[in-house]
Amino acid sequence: MTTICADVDEAVADVADGSVVLIGGFGMAGMPVQLIDALIRQGATDLTVVSNNAGNGDTGLAALLARGRVRKMICSFPRQADSHVFDGLYRAGRIELELVPQGTLAERMRAAGAGIGGFFSPTGVGTQLAAGKETREIDGRHYVLEAPLRGDVALIGAHRADRMGNLVYRKTARNFGPVMATAATTVVAQVVQVVETGELDPEAVVTPSIYVDRVVAA
């Protein structure tokens, strides 16, 4: 059952120190900035954050990093023109980085959500990012074994929710939201608007309500 929260602070009230937090967005598109601001107020620390990037500018994920709340980033593309917060922490040795190819990042979360114990991916074979991992030749092609990646909490940005918790997204802001929604114990979605149940087209629902624990309009 999905809870419609009164505000973003209620939605993230129980995030525990040390949690693995999946945070949606590709750059700022789809990033749940208001939920992250609430998480900053809430105070959870020693977090492992999984997100495609490692923050842009000084808001959203970058603001969480700047507060020193994140012990480790798991992402594909930390270095950007406006990633100065992460860059500074990383160069100062104040944050761990696990770099994962973007498709492997998505697929590892998909595996966690889909009950898959591991999968053989061709991506990264023969590179530093496959170092130490099991490899196997299958039908003449080389693969590396990748593990599922689960979150305790997912914070995602969607466009609209109905009161049951079904979600639709908007354009390329969809990105990591749907797969993160399948991969975390508690899934919190920030949306622009909550509509009545029955107002979303059942053919166009992207994240069914079964994956969504809390929704907040923000």
Binding site: F26, G27, G103, P122, Q128, T172, P178
Partner: protein, 211 residues
């Protein structure tokens, strides 16, 4: 005389077969889009979850929910489709893209690609979707200058930078020549201006074949 970046982009655009599904990497490869003929039916994919991406919008039509892999604003063409990151990379890794165009630090004669990490101790590594594209696209085209700023060749016998993918590059576009990387070796496909295959053979530490 060497080719400008725009001329290189036009060259790549010319070589993309009609109706192809294409991913253009961030940076210089993005310029290829400006040279694709609309009637050619090429469909652009962006890794953040879209097919049939259009050009940059007018300043007053920027939509923060509609960006390309470089986080730049783009537009939507008729026939577009949106999907999530897992689906987007399944498409890439599954071999459904016909062509991707990537930049590079180095490419080896055997088609190894290095474009994600200089390996410098203070560098912050970032890979994004480069490994998925290099591994998944049916044809991998590289656009790069043939020589680094220090004058060393970037088309090399063996990459010294950390690899993005092994044996994945099919063709390399540079400002002086285009090379096909084939099982029989590096083939000079065409040269520009006053550059001759002999000059290339002198400058590169590689056996070259003429087309």
């Amino acid at each position: 005389m060497t080719l400008s970046k725009a001329e290189m982009a036009a060259l790549v655009a010319r070589d993309i077969p009609a109706g192809s599904f294409v991913n253009l990497g961030i940076g210089q490869p993005t310029m290829v889009a400006d040279h694709l003929d609309a009637g050619h039916g090429v469909v652009l994919h962006t890794e953040n979850g879209m097919l049939n991406m259009g050009p940059a919008p007018a300043a007053d039509e920027v939509d923060p929910d509609l960006t390309n892999a470089g986080k730049q604003p783009v537009t939507e063409l008729a026939g577009a489709a949106y999907f999530d990151s897992a689906a987007s990379f399944a498409m890439m890794r599954g071999g459904h893209l016909d062509v991707c165009v990537l930049g590079a630090f180095q490419v080896s004669a055997g088609g190894d690609l290095a474009n994600w990490h200089t390996g410098a101790p203070d560098a912050i590594p970032a890979v994004g979707g480069a490994m998925d594209l290099a591994t998944g696209a049916k044809s991998v085209f590289v656009m790069m200058t043939l020589f680094a700023k220090d004058g060393s060749p970037k088309l090399v016998p063996t990459c010294t930078y950390p690899l993005t993918g092994v044996g994945c590059v099919d063709r390399v576009y540079t400002e002086v020549a285009v090379f096909d990387l084939t099982p029989e070796g590096v083939v000079v496909r065409e040269t520009f201006g006053t550059t001759t295959p002999e000059q290339l053979a002198d400058a590169l530490d590689l056996p070259l074949r003429l087309r």
